[in-house]
Every structure is written in structure tokens, then in C-alpha cells.
Symmetry: D2
Subunit: 307 residues, 4 copies
């Protein structure tokens, strides 16, 4: 990998421990890195620490925002500084159209701006090569929470995973590896076939009313309201529900509360519980994405999922 | 499932042990079944045994050919009879256009006819819900061959799986479960990520020249020529190559022979090694496919993958 | 199991959530249960709540102390009451010699008394049928701590387990199931052989100086000082050491601190993290032990492993 | 390992492919090797090929017989020669008392002679460090047979393993790894606990009459008659029984035949199916055993398990 980014200047704006690790890798790969909103730690020796956003994004070939990008008011999300760092429309507009702007998931206003000003906003959280590795810290965080909250062991428990996407598959494999009696509920015949192949019990949504009452632990990964009041009424009072789907999750939390159920909506966890692993995942993937974007100067992609 | 097929008449033409199991299930589900090329075994009690193809396909709502369909001369493939049973153009033409004709994989001439005469030829081998369950007997057959041919145990062996499709994933999981040191070689970043998540070693095609010399067992699942003469030259003389990709496989077998390598091309194995399981997979899936086809009389799909 | 303990009177003294679950099972099985140091919860309806120890142990056929028994001053360990409940020599002496007194591990003074007064003190923590099931909550607690403390995921981490006894085996299997690169260090050739059979890396104590520097997570299960200052000097500064061996553990904690290493000695965890599972394990095993003791009135075992 | 056996002269008498591999390793380690009953293959370059047994055993410090030793008539078991090679009482008697004679399992007459003449006969098949690694080729051979004989896949089958010793544990782990629904039947509470910990179903012998009728595949590892006529009467006619216990196995084969059941007694399989792995296991272990025997000239062990 050494020196693959020699001669490339990258702006890294805000973030958390993941960015520290990412920046140190970018430096190793020979990039010039301009940062703002990150502390002057020794791992960052060699960076150019900037005073404001305008300076940071000047003459760069790629911009990396935090995974969560900005809050709804447009402030860059950063774990290291209490000073607000506003990503204004003016700043955004000043970015050259060919410079890729990477982040995990963009707030709607950012997507609007990108479409309107034809900027190259690239949301990476949904890319398989980020999302699959990220499913590992997510699954472990989820298992850690279950271990903390349940008075029984995961091993031997009746665990139900709703959904068999990138996180669902990882969770199911790990839970089975620990020794949980794992049922995965999915819709597509091909997913049901793969679930069975993995030695797990496959269930359909029609069967939920039989599956839920047996469950000690229910983990939802589907970002539409799957656990409706009616379905929640089948859940055992001693069960734990962990909802890891993108907020607002797939659980009717108000109904869960009315029913006296223990339901938790977890925020996006990888950066929280395993920042180093999560930083490593970014450092593994972003350089390649940057190179593929800056080596194709003609293709000015805008908007859309990967914009 | 009981009686879901009541009132439906189905023709089952030729085949092997799988068809015996399939027919017995169709009967259980209330179907009328007309057969030819199958023996008068007690499991088939209740079938109408026909004398010729014309009689067999008369007044049926669905036709089931063997998974392999016909040979290149147009003879129905059947394990139970030495008499030729030719599926002529005339017979084919006489099938009403709305009657679905199921088989695994069609020979090119059959696809041509289907396109020309606008028949509803449905190739099921490539459907995920058939192919994923079928990957299990395929993987076991492959492992059985490896156990027979190798002087070492699978456990502890350096095993390389080329490709991470439906069969590759199943094989990799099973080999790991037995205790092989399993490397899976794939191209897509998302596959490499999933391979790592499963606790296996991921490799790219660029790395093949380093991976191949270490391998005791190499299983190819990719139906294009992956194991070229150049790559084969890196393979250890004591290694075993099993190629389970659709004929002619992904191995240059002539080069392998010149190099003194032990390379085997396996025919489609599920029906051979685990006919009951393979029949069960058909019996699980075909009734649903039949019902979905005959309940949608308007949609007259022809040609293409699922035609 | 129903009513197997009908007519048997059992004293349950102190304890924690495990005892609640245990007592409810003893009641289900028809026993008369006298308790002290436990709260008047609805699961305990039907118990006789006693005022002092003398009353509690009167006319019982078996006595169950908490798993940890007493503290070094002789006070019964109880999670539910702040009042001291002293298990005095006088009380101990008054227990009839044929009445079995169960607990997990006895403090030395209790063993002395048992030997001197010829009482039937039975330490169950070391019985395989308690220790193997208990290894599951122990392993999960250990994994939970590792997930909390490490900035990387368990999956993909280099994890070293020292010892391949009851806990070591469970830990190794679970860590491998999650996806850790797991090395188990053991002495006996038969353990090394089994470790390899399980698909794990086996190491010997001679190899520790090569194994330790690679480790992200080190879990010690051996109750003698394995991690000496010299060996600790090989450990990576970012690694986490969790020592689950019986106090004082197998780590030179002072040396670890001097070396700036992160080393944790965990108390006996099953009751803490999975009280219901731990209670279930007791409830599964104790009734059988009680029945086997009280049906064999002649064999007055004292001292020793099962004393 | 290099040269650890320099200056040691070892006789290797008869055997099969395992011995070829073993001898090549002994040569690598610097030993002088005298052989009889083995072919002049290039791997054996450097051996002294002897004409008769008397010459072979002259001036050696250790003797290695085939794993199966002799037949009941006293002829050395050898796969490479049709000439009889009789291990006579006279030859046996002429071996110096301090020279260890290694073999897998001795026929009763050999044990008698060893006791009578005070020779150092060492049966290694039962040593954990041989038996545990050997359980791997044994388990794979057993799985291969099951794959060949059953019309269903191992994956998804109801498989019952009788016994949880060295082979039972390996088999259970592998079958589970492939995806069989695995039940292990054992007697000891500690084994039942470990079976459950491994995520398998544990059963007791009392439950056999409920377990057997569900089984598709039954593998016996217990060398006493477990599968009696009464128990066999509960077995499904389509099930396969594989008995891998030391001959005559644990199955009443005559009753099985009367009942129309498919029951197979397998000979000791490691050398047959994975000779290279089996040879490697011997080569890993025998040098250490030889060194420990010849460096302790005073301890003249005879008879008993390791005699």
C-alpha cells in the first residue's frame, strides 16, 4: 500500500477515534492531510492543522467528513471539540465539482445541496465493502448489550434475528457460534435457503406469532416497522428486544413500553464500541475509493446513493 | 401443504430417484400425475402411467422434465429405462403455450424452440431457491470425492475454493466446519468482506500464484477458465483439483494432464449422491412454482433465464 | 422431576438471585424449604422464612449455603440483606453429622471445622457437572468484558487462552465461534491434540515468548502464576489481560501495573452476569446431589475435593 | 527436530503407507533405520533393507511394528509383501529387555509373551496423543462412508453419536460443522454438560428408545454391546448404522440383519483413508516416545496399558 497516495492532498474534517486511525494510515500511504476538529495527537504528526473550514478544503483532491456527517443544523459532528464547526452552504458551494466528498450517511439537506450544486457527495455507509465489515462491530456491540441486559446466557437462549441482510447474517453466524438457538426471520426464499444451509432455523413473517413467544432475545435489523403493537403482544415479558435498524428502527417503541417490554434502540455502534476496528475498516476502503474517484476526472457523478 | 394441488394435472417425464420422491409429494398434495419413463414403484401408486409422450402431455397444466432435460439429440434423460424417449419438435410444438415446462437446465436447441414457438420453458437450476439448497448435496459430494482421493484428511489441509457464489459459500462453510484451513478466492470487495467475516482467509485472483502452491485441495466453482495452464503451473503435484463448475468447467484439463496434475471434472452431483435430499428440494419448490405459474394465466413468459 | 423432593426439608441460607431461582425449583419439586437472608418475593411463596440460623437449620435434611459460602470472618455472603449473618462455630457444630452442607467453595476455616467435627461439607464448584455448565456464563462474562474494554472487535483479534480446562475449552470454542484468531496454550499432549482438532492453534508454554507479543487479548484460566513479570514483559502495551482463575489469579498484577499493562482479575462471574442461568444450573444439579446424599445415610464423607 | 535421533538405530518391521512416511521422517531426524517388509521406494533411500527378522532387530535401540502388529497366527501385518513374515516366540525372546517394541494394539499372545519374558511392549493406539489426532481420520472416514451410503445429505440429517470419548467428540464436532442435527448419547454428567456446551443435543441411554426412531444416521463408538436387538428394534429401516468401535463393535449385527437394518462395522480406518495424515501422526509422536524410552534405561516397564 505504501505511498499509493503520494502527491494527493486530502481534507479530513471532524470525526472521532476512527478518523485518528484513518488519518495515520493516509499519512503512511504518502498523502498530504489537512485536518480540522481533530486533536494534535502524535499519530497525526505530519498533518496540517487548519484554522477554519475554508482553509481546510482549499486545494484538496478529496474531502472526508465524519461517518455521520453533520447534525440537522449543519454542524460537523466531532468528538474532540466543543466548538461548533458549521458546514455552511457557502463552504459547500465553494468545493470544486470534481472533488469527492466522502461521508457515511448524509442528512437530507446535504443531499439536496449536492444535487443542486452538482457536487460529488459520496455516501459510503451503504457500500457493501464498508457495510459488511462494519456489520462485525455492530454485531459484537449488539451481543455485548444482550450479555449486559439479559439475566441468562446467550448460549442456549432462544434468539430471533429479524432480517438477513448484511448485519443479520453476521449476527446470526456469531450468535450460533456462541451457542444460541438461533432463528432468522426473512422473506426471500433464497435467504431462507441460506439460513437453513448455515444450520440455523429459518422462519417467515407469517410464523412470527409462533416464533416471538418463545424468544428470549429478539434483534431487529429491518428499517421498517416490523415489530408492530400486534406482534409485540406476542413477545414474552422477560424477553429483550434490541433494534439496530437505522433510526427510528423497526419497533413500535411506544407500544413496547405500554406492553411493559424491554426494548432498546441502539445508535450506530461501530465507532462507539470498536473505534479502532471501525477506523481500520475506513482506512482499508477509503484510499481505494479516493483513488478511483480522482483517477477518473471525467466522470462527475452527483446525487444518488453513491452519488 | 396438503391438497394444495387438488385438481391440477401434472406430467412428469423421465428422470431419476429425485422424480420418484417428487411425484410421491405431488400425489400427497392432491395432484393428478401422469408419468412416463418412471418405474411402477409403490411410491408412485396413484399415478397414470402413460405409453407415449403425446398421451402424457395431453390435458396437463404443467410439465416436469428431468433436471438435465434432454441429451443433445433430444432424448429425455432417464435413469430407469433404456428405451429412447425422444422429445421431438412436433411434441414440443403441441404443448399449449400457457403450460409451463420445468427443467433444470435446457440444451440450446430447446431454448431456441421455446423462443420460436413461444412456449413457457422454465429453467429452475439457476433459481436461488433451488440452487442454494442444491449447493448442499453438491458440497457434500465434492467433500466425499476429496476424502476418497486425498491421502490426507480434509481437517488441517490447505483448501482453496475458487468463487464465492452459492456453491462456493456452502463449500467454504462446510470445509471450515470440518477443520480445513480454508481460503476463498473471489473478486468482489463485498465477497472478500463476507469471507473474512466468516472467519476464512480471503484471497484475490492476483494472489493466486502465491495461494496455489500451498494448496492441498483446490475446488473450482467458477464456470470460466480460471485454472489456466499458467496458473496450473503453480499447483503442487500432490494437490487434488476438483472442478464443480458447469461443464466444461473452469480448468484447462489438458494442461493439467500435461503437468501431471490430478484434476477431476464432476458432473452435476446432487441427484447422484443424495437423490432423496435432491428430490426433497424439488418437492419443496416445484409445487410453489407450478401454482404461481398456473394461477397467472395471463403472463406468458418465454425464453430468458427463467424464461 | 415433579415431587422428587417430597418430604425433604432443606435449609437455604443467604445467597443471591441464583438462590431465588433454586428455591423456586426446590418448591416445585415438593421440598419444604426454610430460608434466611432471602427476600419475601413471590417466587418464594411457600417457604418458611426463619429468624435466625439456629431455627433455619433445625430438622432439615440438607443445608445449602451461597456458592461463595462465607467471607473470611465467617459471615454468610448474601446480596439481599445488610444485616450480618454469622455462621458461627457453635451453629456449625450443631448440625447433625449426616446432614450434607452444600456450597461452592469453602473458606479454609470451614474446611478445618468440617474435618474436626466430621461434618459433611460438600464443595460443588469443582464438580464437573457444575463447573462445565458454569463455564458458559463465565466465558460469556469474560467475552463481555473484552468487548467493553477493547477498542477492537473480538472477531479478527489475536486471542490467547491460557489453559484448556473446563473454562478454557468453553472460552476457546466461543471465541472461535465469534471469529477470533484463537491460540490455546496448554501443557498436556492430549490437550494440544484436542485444541488442534477443534481447528484452533495450539501452543506450549515454551512458545509463550513468541505468542504473547502478537496477542490483542489474553485470557488466563490457570490458578498458578503463569503470567510472571518476565512473561508480562513480552505482552503488547495495547493488549488486554483478563484473569479468570480463582483469586489471586495467575497474573503478577503488580508487575503488570509497573509495565503499564491493562490486566483485570475478575471475580467469580456466573452469578453476576447471568444469575438466572447460574441459578438454573444449580437447580438442575443440586436436587440430584441432595437425593444421592440423603439416600446414602451410611457414607459420611468429609473433607477432600467433594469432602 | 533435526537430528534429534542422531546415533539411534531403529527397526521398522512391516506396515503400510504410514510406515513409509514415518521412516522418511526418522531418517530426516538422523536415525539409522533398518527395515523389512517395506518396498525400496525413494522416500526410504538411506535405510538398511534387511533379509530376515533376526538381522533387522540386531543392535537396534527401538523396534516399530505395524499399528495392528500381527495377525492371530503371529505374522507381521504388511501391505507391501505377500511373503509371510512370522514374528516367532524365538525372535521375540531374543530382543533385549530394554529395547522398546512399539505397536498400536497387541494381540493377546504378544501381551502374554511380553509379560512372561519381561519385554517392553508399548501399545500406543490408546495413548491420548495418538488416539486424539487419529480420531480425525477416523471421523472423516466415517463421514465419507455415510456420504456414500445414505441417499440424503449429512447436512440436515438427524445424526446420533453413541459415546463421547476421543472419537465421539471429534465426530460430533465435525458433523455439527457440516450441518447435521447432532445428538450425542453419553452417560457421565460431565460429558452431557460438555455436549450441551458445544451446542449439540445431549441424550442419555435411558432416552435411546425415543432417540433412535428419529435417527437417519447412527454412529457407535462404544466397544460394548450398546445396540442390542431390543434397541435395534427402535431404529428406522432407512437409517444407516456405522460402528467404529474396536471389533467386534457395539452392535448386535446378527439382530440388525434379522431386522433388515443397514449396519456396517468398519475396520480401523485412519491408515486406509488418510495414510499420509496417519503417518504424520505417528511421525509426530513416535520420536518423542522413543527418546523418552531410550533415555530412561533403568525403567523397564512391561505389560499394562502402555506396558
Amino acid at each position: 500500500m505504501a505511498e499509493q497516495l503520494a502527491g494527493v492532498t486530502i481534507a479530513v474534517i471532524g470525526g472521532d477515534e476512527r478518523q485518528i486511525f484513518l488519518v495515520s494510515k493516509l499519512l503512511e500511504m504518502g498523502a498530504n492531510v489537512k485536518v480540522i476538529g481533530l486533536p494534535e495527537r502524535k499519530e497525526l504528526t505530519g498533518c496540517e492543522f487548519c484554522k477554519d473550514l475554508a482553509q481546510t478544503i482549499q486545494d484538496v483532491q478529496a474531502i472526508i467528513l465524519p461517518m455521520a456527517g453533520t447534525d440537522f443544523e449543519g454542524n460537523i459532528i466531532t468528538a474532540f471539540s466543543k466548538n461548533k464547526l458549521e458546514f455552511t452552504e457557502q463552504i459547500f458551494q465553494s468545493i470544486p465539482n470534481h472533488v469527492p466528498i466522502f461521508l457515511g450517511v448524509a442528512k437530507p439537506f446535504l443531499r439536496e445541496w449536492a444535487r443542486f450544486y452538482e457536487k460529488k457527495l459520496i455516501e459510503i455507509a451503504d457500500l457493501d465493502e464498508i457495510a459488511i465489515p462494519n456489520s462485525i462491530p455492530t454485531a459484537e456491540a449488539c451481543i455485548q448489550i444482550a450479555m449486559e441486559k439479559l439475566p441468562i446466557t446467550i448460549h442456549g437462549s432462544n434468539t430471533v434475528v429479524l432480517g438477513f441482510g448484511r448485519c443479520g447474517m453476521t449476527l446470526a453466524r456469531m450468535l450460533h457460534g456462541i451457542g444460541a438457538k438461533t432463528t432468522v426471520v426473512a422473506r426471500k426464499p433464497k435467504d431462507l435457503a441460506r439460513i437453513r444451509e448455515m444450520g440455523l432455523t429459518a422462519g417467515t413473517f407469517d410464523q412470527l406469532t409462533e416464533i416471538l413467544p418463545q424468544a428470549d432475545l429478539i434483534i431487529n435489523t429491518i428499517p421498517i416497522q416490523i415489530l408492530t403493537e400486534r406482534r409485540l403482544s406476542y413477545v414474552n415479558k422477560e424477553a429483550l428486544i434490541i433494534d439496530i435498524a437505522t433510526a427510528p428502527g423497526g419497533t413500535d417503541f411506544q407500544a413496547a413500553e405500554r406492553l411493559g417490554l424491554n426494548a432498546i434502540l441502539t445508535p450506530s455502534l461501530p465507532g462507539l464500541v470498536a473505534p479502532k476496528t471501525a477506523g481500520y475498516i475506513l482506512a482499508e476502503t477509503l484510499p481505494r475509493l479516493i483513488l478511483s474517484e480522482i483517477s477518473l476526472p471525467g466522470t462527475n457523478k452527483v446525487g444518488g446513493k453513491i452519488s
